[in-house]
Amino acid sequence: MAVLTVQNLSKTFNLGTARESRVLDDISFEVKGQTFVSIVGPSGCGKSTLLNIISGVEEHTSGDISLTSDAGGPARMGYVFQDPRLLPWRSVMQNMMYVQDDQSPATVSRAKEYLDMVGLAKNADFFPGQLSGGMQQRVGIARAFAVEPDLLLMDEPFSHLDAITARGLREQLQDIWAQSKKTVVFVTHDVVEAVELSDRIIVLQPGGLIYEDITIDLPRPRRQTDKNVATLQAEVLARLEKLKAMSVAEPVA
């Protein structure tokens, strides 16, 4: 079982001439097994920084992060970004294979499977420039799932899409996740989206502290139109009202 442990994690940016900006302040949490966790919070509260630190793209200032893999050996991570970030000069299938360590037929057919799950099997030989933004983002999602990661990191993957495309992709994401049962850490500023997708929501507040850790216990598959999803969304939003006031009162350094 994949376990992500974050212990007393802090991150400060050096702004030069002895000025520092604290983005994450002594954060600790643990994510175990087949869980979908969302990290929510207003802009500038360190959500994306946290994700970058977990993925290893950014260094942290103090604290510990560990990730144990499902199968033993080094843990694998998949990443879905805000933009698709596909290589424009490689076909969809070549993009899927670029992030794979081995190029065996088994891996190729697995990549095809995930491409099929996002409904793009017939576009495997297209170049990204021939696909719409939503289709490109679906390739990005399939690419991340296809590496069979122990931990899948998603950084506001639907924020650049129109509402209807985003809604379709959220449903698709739930279906793929239900089949693959990966550990997912999903960053979003959209509480409504987080309630629809997650088992658990970690709310960050400005200054990089954990404001609240909410468990969402609703049956799946969930749809945006479900009544109990809507009720819980309203409830969570109400609980975070105070946070809104705080983010206005305490602008991020």
């Binding site: 991570m77 992030v99 297209f126 021939q130």
Partner: protein, 286 residues
């Protein structure tokens, strides 16, 4: 065409008025193509007429008539000199290009990647790019005398600054987000170089090659005129000394024709093929 590919679906069955519009658009496109080709042909006719007029005005001893030059060109091709001298010139040009790429590309890489190296190389490369080609031709001959190395060095010196500047521009244009993506998925620096950096530079390198090509040929021939022992420039000088003007022009015409073939058929096609992922190139490549 691109729009249909984006949707990935067959176009809807045409209705009456839309069908008319489409037919109209096709007719307009056909007419435009026809008009363009007609003007192209007219341009060639104009060149021919100006030439004929010039021959009549100056006398065909000074400026041989087109058919005389053509006959002379046929003679050169039949004699076999064409193949040996052209291959000599082509090989020297490509060798020069090779040297330019070997020197210019790494310099361009350093200039694009690191600001310190940019500071170090920038002015030198700019100066090297501004020096007139004839200076390179003369200097190369002084260094190497009558040998094949003179033209090669001249071509290399003329081309290297272009290659360096274009590669530097290409590297600076690399999409940082693709690099972070690669790092997040644990790709090695070698993989990132091959899959992200090099494909980014390719269009810039092609621009450099095509730009150099036009200049390099002329420099190569010029260097041969001064001090070659074979090649097109050497032949032009020989014919000039024999005062065989129609042969001088015949070599020139063959030279131009050959250059156009390489430019249009080889370089342009290769570029379209390599860059077929770009929407604007796709039409040309497929």
């Amino acid at each position: 065409m691109t729009d249909q590919m984006v949707v990935g679906a067959a176009p809807a069955a045409p209705t009456g008025p839309a069908d008319d519009r489409e037919a109209d658009a096709r007719r307009t496109a056909r007419f435009r193509r026809w008009r363009r080709n007609a003007l192209l042909a007219l341009g060639w006719v104009a060149i021919y007429l100006v030439w004929e007029f010039g021959s009549w005005w100056f006398g065909s001893r000074l400026l041989p008539r087109p058919h005389e030059v053509f006959a002379s060109a046929v003679e050169i091709v039949e004699s076999g000199n064409f193949v040996t001298d052209f291959s000599a010139s082509v090989l020297k040009t490509f060798a020069g290009f090779g040297v330019a790429a070997a020197v210019g590309a790494p310099i361009g890489y350093l200039m694009g990647r690191y600001n310190y190296w940019r500071a170090f190389f920038h002015d030198g490369v700019t100066i090297a790019g501004t020096i007139p080609a004839i200076v390179y031709a003369v200097m190369s001959l002084i260094v190497f005398g009558l040998s094949n190395f003179g033209p090669i060095l001249a071509v290399a010196l003329v081309s290297a600054p272009y290659v360096a500047l274009n590669v530097a521009e290409g590297i600076r244009g690399v999409d940082r987000q693709l690099i972070t993506m690669s790092e997040a998925f644990g790709r090695t620096p070698a993989q990132i170089r091959r899959q992200v950096l090099i494909p980014t530079i390719v269009p810039f390198v092609f621009a450099a090659i095509r730009m150099c090509f036009a200049v390099a040929w002329k420099v190569e021939a010029l260097t041969e005129v001064f001090g070659g022992r074979n090649g097109v420039g050497f032949q032009i000088r020989t014919e000039y000394q024999l005062y065989d003007i129609s042969a001088v022009l015949a070599w020139t015409v063959l030279f131009i024709a050959f250059m156009l073939v390489i430019e249009r058929l080889v370089l342009a096609k290769a570029e379209a093929r390599l860059l077929s992922w770009r929407p604007e190139e796709r039409g040309a490549a497929l």
